[in-house]
């Protein structure tokens, strides 16, 4: 699988100087060309995240389609005062991905397929990885306690509920709840430091 003609490589995210907010305002008014541009700048990031959570490539494609159509449908609801366009978009992507793995449709398949399907994508992923931000997030994740980190990553990348995470880690539900919150506070502070 190679890059598509006319499609730029993945945009760095958060993308300085490539704010999608003005484009979303055009999309909200039905501008299909603007929507195509938004797609080109975000689809690889959406697909990367969705695939990480959902695992199955075919289902990840479906979820990516759902997300991008949700962007089209709900562009008028994007409020630039509440956060960046990319954060808005990736929030939708994550929710859709999690909804998919919880629907039961994916649950049965993802374990069996995960090991098989991922390989050929990783070559491409190598090429387009947004190294800088990913590295920084990883470094900040390393600054959490192990329980905080496990709680946050199992929930976010694994698509598990906090109750399921408690089961996986063998700790009380209340403990997981507070570790998720504390972990995110620490992550927020670390990322905000600009280090």
């Amino acid at each position: 699988m190679g890059m598509t003609e006319g499609q730029p490589a993945a945009a760095p995210w958060p993308a300085p100087g490539r704010d999608l907010a003005p484009l979303l305002a055009l999309v909200a008014r039905g501008d299909q060309a603007a929507f195509a541009t938004v797609y080109d700048h975000s689809a690889a990031l959406v697909f990367g995240l969705v695939r990480r959570v959902v695992r199955d490539p075919a289902q990840s494609e479906e979820v990516t389609q759902e997300v991008m159509l949700e962007v089209w449908r709900t562009a008028s609801r994007f409020d630039p005062h509440r956060g960046s366009a990319m954060a808005w978009l990736m929030t939708m992507a994550h929710r859709r991905a999690v909804d998919r793995v919880r629907s039961g449709l994916a649950a049965a398949q993802r374990e069996t397929r995960a090991a098989v399907a991922v390989t050929d994508y990783d070559v491409v992923a190598e090429e387009v990885e947004t190294r800088l931000d990913a590295q920084r997030v990883r470094r900040c994740l390393d600054s959490l306690t192990e329980l905080q980190r496990e709680s946050v990553t199992l929930a976010y990348y694994g698509g598990y509920t906090y109750r399921e995470v408690a089961g996986l880690l063998g700790v009380a539900v209340g403990t997981v709840k507070t570790r998720m919150r504390d972990g995110l506070i620490r992550l927020r502070d670390c990322l905000g430091d600009g280090s």
């Binding site: 699988m1 689809a43 389609q65 159509l69 491409v124 906090y162 998720m180």
Partner: protein, 249 residues
């Protein structure tokens, strides 16, 4: 509406990680609606959680792009939210319209709809089945504890429910949900503390409205959900609900 259990502040982390079950999430969003400090904290944690999305980007195959652009060209967009908007970013808004208010009046409106709806129900059911169906509806509408509520779909359109606790049953109608391609229908679910149970298929809409569906066996803590399924129905939801409605218990 009674909150079933206290929603502690500490759920903010699980919430922004999308790690709450659907009932927990709905309850927490209710809690957020009345707590400015919680909203602010959730927003700042949301930004941090959003950064976790910085995983390796992978371009989807080209056909995805074609399908998305084709589909967008024939998909109606949502209008902007106006002044009283309270929805969180990108998430379905569950709005209460006067719960427990003017049941008699609203019930009357629904009855009018039923009479009109009966014109086309006729063609779909035998007479006796239709009479039983209408009797079941009338029983719920006339129950002393009948409560009406409605919710907007995350797509477009809305659902209205008249519910009777006494009868553990409800009547559901919808208006202006997005039309579905042939081979797909909306399916009704009861989603609650017990497992999610299928609760019937919505009939094909007539001028945007669906004829009333009766759902029985409603348990405390249940919510009503609508998903898009194949026309034959599913045993478990295969997609995210387009609408969730919390029932008062």
């Amino acid at each position: 509406m009674r909150i079933r259990r206290e929603v502690p502040h500490t759920l903010a982390g699980a919430y922004v990680l999308d790690a709450l079950t659907e009932p927990d999430r709905v309850r927490f969003e209710r809690h957020l609606a009345g707590c400015e400090a919680c909203r602010q904290e959730a927003a700042s944690l949301r930004e941090a959680a959003g950064r976790l999305a910085a995983v390796p980007a992978v371009p989807p195959p080209p056909h995805v792009r074609e399908q998305v652009l084709t589909e967008a060209a024939r998909t109606r967009q949502q209008p902007p939210l106006t002044a009283d908007a309270l929805a969180g970013p990108g998430r379905r808004a569950i709005r209460w319209r006067a719960p427990r208010m003017a049941v008699a009046i609203a019930g009357g409106c629904i009855l009018v709809a039923l009479v009109l709806g009966g014109l086309f129900i006729h063609t779909q059911r035998s007479l006796s089945a239709e009479q039983a169906h209408n009797r079941a509806i009338a029983t719920i509408l006339n129950a002393p504890d009948a409560t009406i509520m409605s919710a907007k779909a995350m797509t477009s359109g809305s659902a209205t429910v008249v519910m009777s606790h006494r009868d553990h049953a409800l009547v559901l109608t919808t208006a202006m949900l997005p039309a579905l391609p042939a081979g797909q229908r909306y399916q009704v679910w009861l989603m609650g503390t017990r497992r999610t149970r299928p609760a019937g298929m919505l009939p094909v809409p007539h001028r945007g409205m669906t004829a009333p569906v009766v759902v029985s066996g409603v348990a405390p803590g249940d919510m009503v959900g609508l998903t898009v399924e194949s026309a034959s129905g599913s045993t478990v939801p295969s997609s995210a609900p387009v609408l969730m409605l919390v029932l008062p218990f």
